[in-house]
Amino acid sequence: MMMSLSVFSGLIWLALVLTMATPVLLLALLVKDFISNQVW
């Protein structure tokens, strides 16, 4: 059974959007740790 174009596109776009959001989240967490002096 072959994966349809819509499912294929949805899977790739979802993965890409989630991946692109990661650096923003990590930097926000670092800033939060830095402000509360919790980096190390």
Binding site: M2, M3, L5, I12, A15, T19, M20, T22, P23, W40
Partner: protein
Amino acid sequence: MAETLTTEYALSTELGLTLVVLFGAAWVLFGYWLGRKNKTHEDFALAGRNVGFAFAAATAMATWVTSNTTLVAPQLTYQFGIWGMVGYSFAALGLILFAPLAKRIKTLLPNGYTSGDFIRLRFGRMSWHVFIVISVVYAFGWLVSLGMAGGILLEALSGLDYHLGMTAILIICVGYTLFGGLRAVIATDFIQALIIIIGVSIIAWLLIDNVGLDTIHAELGSDHPKLLDVLFPAAIMFLFNNIFFGLGEIFHSNVWWSRALAFKKTVAFKAFLVGGLLWLPIPIVTGFIALAAPQLGIFPPSPDMVGPTVAAGVLGQVGAVVVFIVVFSALASSLDSLLAATSDLVTRDIYHQHLRKDASDKHLMRFNRYTILGLGILTWLLCMPRIATLGALLNFAGAFVASTIFPILLGLYNRRLPGRYAAAAMAIGTAVGLASYFIIGFYVAALSSCAVSGFICAIGVWRSREQFDWQQLDEAPEQPVTQTDKEQVQ
């Protein structure tokens, strides 16, 4: 087009070398700068046991993004299609399920150093010996796979000799781990995580923009329908195998235990959970890149180079530079972690516990550094011949590590599993996994190893009358050094 891509290099050798030297110098200097804060062996090996949430989540994710995610995920997608990339992404379960274990480890072993400490205290010497063999085989399998990937990458992208590229990446990673210890490893992981994610996103975005998802789907549907088949039996078997392989890798490896012990107690659980969730989509993005290969008429010289070859082929020199930096960062983020964690295991479990119980803190820190250097040299020697494709090397280790899943899990949560059953589960599970690897195929090695080990553990729990006392895991820290090193006195 295929001819051009397999015979010309996307980067000039000079540019490849320049990138290596620039990145290498930056990482080593950064490691040196961070290493100035290391005053004790605990600082060096466990970053003072006080790593905050941002660094903790980033290092969990970045360490799990290895050469395998950037080179093997595309390779498996190229071979197994959709299930290759989805199956690979299921390895995130290893990080996610390790989250509660990390919290438990911090509670039960507040003064622990390594995964070997846990096995020794929980199951005794016999299990510890089996576990150390498994850990060493796995560590070297992974180290060699990473070293080889460095050489293969540089050669494929810039034509630089395999041996030269492999030597360069080993020298760089050994350099900054040697100076900075786990603190340098974790801090560089954060930056490497950002580089990897941004680079991978750029490549995938440009690929979609240049080629189009509908074109890729149509080409695969007409010429390679198996790659879009959601009922591809070997690929589904691979998916389950990969889940157990990922669990085994993370549950047993000191790379992850040393992180659990290094993180602040309040962040250990959520750091692994968030790290796993952040990692989950990455193999789909990197794997997808390989699906464009047939459409583009790209047939890479070896399957594990399909990702970089497609990216470089579609995006030209800029794409090649991005690929180079991404894979280089992915390699470094895992190689440094493995060097640090394996040297801790050798220093703590073998040297300190078995050879020099009276070694001072300063002495242990020095020995740890020598071990990092020694591991680097040994890895270099093993990488000299290109012995296997990265995927094959990786899956061979699956037979070993999957046998540790149930002993670790039950060891942490169940009082009844006796040491002799844990040892038998790991030894027999590994043997059956290896037999499956050679008789059936790589995609069942971890599965069969885990199943047999789990069965033996179940018998052990069922027959046992033991009630292990958790307090035995909390070894008191060594007495602080009150005078100069013993060896200096002597």
